[in-house]
Amino acid sequence: MNNLQADIKAELEKLPLADQKIINELLIDIENDDASQRQLREIVVQKVQQMIVSEE
Amino acid sequence: MDTNFLSSGTSLIKTSSNVEDVYEVLSRELKMKTHSIFMLGFCIGYHSGQKCEHLELKGKEFRSSYLSEKQQGILYAVGINEGILDEDSASYTDPQKQQALRKLWLEYSASGLLQLKAKFEENGKALGDQKKIDLLSGILQYFIDSKEEIPF
């Protein structure tokens, strides 16, 4: 997170908390650059599904 | 024997080589025929009363029959004026007289052309460098000057 510019961070903070969390985690994964795009997709799908289940 | 010897088809007039450059430049720039240049020189020379007696007849030549009747008339008139031709028809057919008359014409023509050359070169250009307009202006100026001379 500390790599992101404050302005972008501010924009992100306007989003729903759950969305913020998942985006931030993805951005860290992208920054670390140790997963392929396919893997990244799988991760976000999983997280979103968990999020929905827990919301219910 | 034909008294009108200028019109005889075989009669050639050889001009002087000391004015050949004038013939060349007038022929080249103004497209004048040799006989016209000869007459131009003659008229100017005779009008001025000056002859050029050093002739070398190795220059351009032309058939005298090319001269117009008017030009021929003037040349004969000069013969009569100078007393070479007279009422005796023999004076027209005598080869010696004809020869003397030709020499006279050529001397006046050469003198006239030399005067013209001097006139041309007044503008500072060499004769060979004179262009159409320079030459024509020179000739016309001469014509105009000749009429403005104070008669004596």
């Binding site: 500390n2 510019q5 924009e11 969305d19 985006i23 | 008294t3 000069v78 307009i133």
Partner: protein, 669 residues
């Protein structure tokens, strides 16, 4: 990123070990002096080799001739030799080391590369302990790219004399695109773009998967329709953005032509006058020629007129001769008298005196051809004709002469005027023709293209809106489909959520991209105003950066003047862009602190520009490394400013040895 130390071994002209340290903090300027050929570019090469493994620089034209291993060693030993460059730098409060080596050998007069190696590592805590991170060349590239992305290095490491950002920034070409990518990287927008891709693609994948698992015919049909609509949408959007690109290019062309037309209005007005004068000249020449020909045609008669006064006496003699003869009168005179009904000799009116007319008729009958009468007739006719035309000829000669003089005067005057006007016209005939052609043909074409394309955009927009509505409707319908399986229900909700998050990210990218562009523009103006001369400041009224990161410079007249600015001005603009970019990118985080590395920085600049740079650049970048020639660092101009500003941390001199090698020697300022 802050450069600390550069170690060069057997690299290019640097034989053995050479070390350079870089100034930082308050003394963040490093001066590296050297005559031409001493190896200034060699230092530049060493840095680019260390960071990116570059064997060549962008400015190299003949690539075969450039080898990195010291050639003196290669030639003298005949053995494979290794060049090594080690760069020490700090980034995010960590000290790093990057080391690259290259082994070359020579055979048959040809130098070839044998092996190449790279290592990247960091120092722990107090710099005592070194930890290697990787020695895999590809991995090293990834590491460096994370610190200073390769595609923006040209903003920070460049040969100032060849700095050519503007030509790339102005015409919407691939350079502008690569700059946009570079800027996005630098501003960390590229990570967001990747995130957007991940969410949007995941949504599409999931939706498809859901459709297959559900096995519901209605759902499947809707899914197919959604997919087709999505494909159509992306195709339309692509087409639309292509047309927008084309319109931008066309508008630039339109503006350029308009500028050319405006600039050349004076020339073209002059050319019009010139054309008229040339036409007048041509008709004057024609008229002169006519007069000349007329006068030449009259020379024969005029010559005779000149001599006429001198031969007139002959006329009397001829008359006398003719009188003495039995054929007293020339036949022509008799005929003429009868024809005119007036006696040609005495002037008697023959119609009043028929007896005289009878007498003439008798004489004519009696006329005998004499031997010389022919010649005499020629003479008298000639004189008569010459006399009668004399006045007319004289008048004509005077008229012709004056006319020639007049025409000549006019022609000379016209020729002089034409020459003068011609010298005022700076463009060639072809260029003028070209501009006229552009105004009459190219410009209307471009303008009609623009309006056609604008209409097309409108059509595309309508189509896109329709498809977007359709998509929304299809998605709503899909949501209405009853799903009994709970797992699949979750999946469907997930698809919707993924789509939503994707849209949220797109929105941020859009906002932030516009915002950073505006910041960049604003910052660039501030910096540009600090470094340019007062004269240039009055010349340039605005700087604009388009959404595609294309640059335009607006002059006082409101027109783009990018094509008119000097090399020096262009260099200052490029510098302003680079420093503005670094400043904007640094906002909110302190690790976008890149050194500015300039080769031959002052070559094209005047004193005022140089002074402005020396005073301002150290405040705008974290480090400023200058490779300068003697002429760029004089006691009279640059040195006093550097001393006064007190920002120089390190000074080195590149000393060229007799054997062709160079030693790096530290100096005091």
């Amino acid at each position: 990123m802050q450069l600390e130390k550069l170690k060069i071994s057997n690299f290019r002209q640097f034989e053995g070990d050479n070390v350079l340290e870089f100034g930082y903090g308050q003394q963040n300027v490093t001066l590296i002096k050297g005559t031409n050929g001493a190896g200034k570019t060699g230092i530049f090469r060493a840095i680019m080799f260390a960071l990116y493994g570059d064997h060549y620089l962008e400015q190299d034209t003949t690539r075969e001739d450039i080898h990195l291993v010291n050639s003196k060693l290669l030639n003298s030993t005949g053995l494979p030799m290794t060049a090594t460059v080690t760069l020490y730098f700090r980034h995010n409060d960590v000290s790093y080391l990057i080391k690259r080596s290259l082994t070359e050998f020579k055979s048959d007069n040809k130098t070839s590369v044998a092996t190449e190696g790279a290592e990247f590592g960091k120092f722990l805590a107090d710099k005592q302990q070194y930890q290697k991170i990787t020695d895999n060349i590809d991995q090293v590239r990834v590491e460096v790219n994370n610190i200073l992305p390769q595609n923006i290095r040209k903003f920070f490491f460049f040969d100032a004399e060849k700095l050519d950002l503007l030509s790339g920034l102005q015409n919407g070409g691939s350079v502008a695109k690569s700059i946009k990518t570079g800027v996005f990287d630098l501003l960390q927008l590229s990570n967001l773009e990747t995130a957007s891709k991940v969410f949007n693609q995941a949504a599409r994948d999931q939706s498809k998967e859901l459709s297959n698992q559900l096995g519901d015919q209605q759902f499947k049909e809707l899914e197919d329709k959604i997919e087709t609509t999505n494909n159509d949408l992306s195709r339309l959007r692509e087409e639309k953005s292509q047309i927008i690109d084309e319109i931008e290019t066309a508008k630039k062309e339109e503006e350029l032509i308009k500028q050319q037309i405006a600039q050349n209005r004076d020339d073209r007005a002059q050319a019009e006058i010139l054309k008229n004068k040339e036409e007048t000249l041509s008709s004057e020449r024609y008229a002169l020629n006519e007069v000349i020909n007329e006068a030449i045609g009259r020379i024969d008669d005029t010559a005779i007129d000149v001599v006429l006064g001198s031969v007139d006496k002959a006329g009397i003699k001829v008359e006398n001769i003719q009188n003495q003869r039995s054929d007293k009168f020339a036949k022509a005179i008799l005929t003429e008298s009868l024809n005119n009904k007036v006696c040609a000799l005495c002037g008697n009116d023959l119609s009043a005196h028929p007896e005289n007319e009878e007498h003439i008729q008798v004489l004519l009958k009696k006329f005998q051809v004499s031997e010389i009468s022919g010649v005499l007739n020629i003479v008298s006719n000639s004189l008569m004709s010459a006399n009668s035309s004399s006045q007319g000829i004289q008048a004509a000669v005077t008229r012709n002469y004056q006319s020639i003089v007049n025409h000549e005067d006019k022609i000379n005057k016209l020729e002089h005027e034409i020459e003068q006007i011609g010298s005022q016209i700076t463009m060639s005939q072809n260029e003028l023709k070209n501009i006229t052609n552009k105004e009459q043909h190219t410009l209307p074409n471009v303008q009609s293209n623009i309006s056609t394309m604008t209409e097309k955009i409108g059509v595309k927009k309508d189509q896109i809106t329709k498809l977007e509505n359709k998509l929304q409707e299809l998605e709503a319908q899909q949501e209405q489909v009853q799903i009994k399986d709970n797992n699949l229900k979750v999946k469907r909700d997930a698809v919707a959520r993924l789509k939503r998050i994707g849209k949220e990210i797109d929105q941020i990218i859009d906002t932030y991209s516009t915002y950073s562009k505006e910041q960049l523009e604003k910052q660039m103006k501030v910096i540009f105003n600090q470094i340019i001369t007062a004269e240039d400041r009055s010349l340039i009224s605005d700087i604009k950066i388009s959404n595609n990161f294309e640059l335009s410079v607006i002059g006082k007249n409101g027109m783009s003047i990018l094509n008119d600015i000097s090399m020096g001005q262009s260099q200052m603009l490029s510098l302003a862009f680079i420093t503005a970019l670094a400043t904007v990118a640094s906002k909110g985080r302190n690790n976008v602190d890149f050194p500015l590395f300039m080769d031959t920085p002052f070559g094209r600049l005047d004193v005022e520009n140089r002074t402005n740079l020396i005073k301002n650049i150290p405040n705008m970048t974290s480090q400023w490394v200058l490779l300068v020639t003697d002429t760029e660092l004089t006691e009279g101009t640059e040195l006093p400013v550097f001393k006064q500003e007190n920002r120089v941390g390190k000074v080195y001199s590149l000393n060229k040895m007799d054997d062709g090698t160079t030693k790096i020697v530290p100096e005091e300022i």
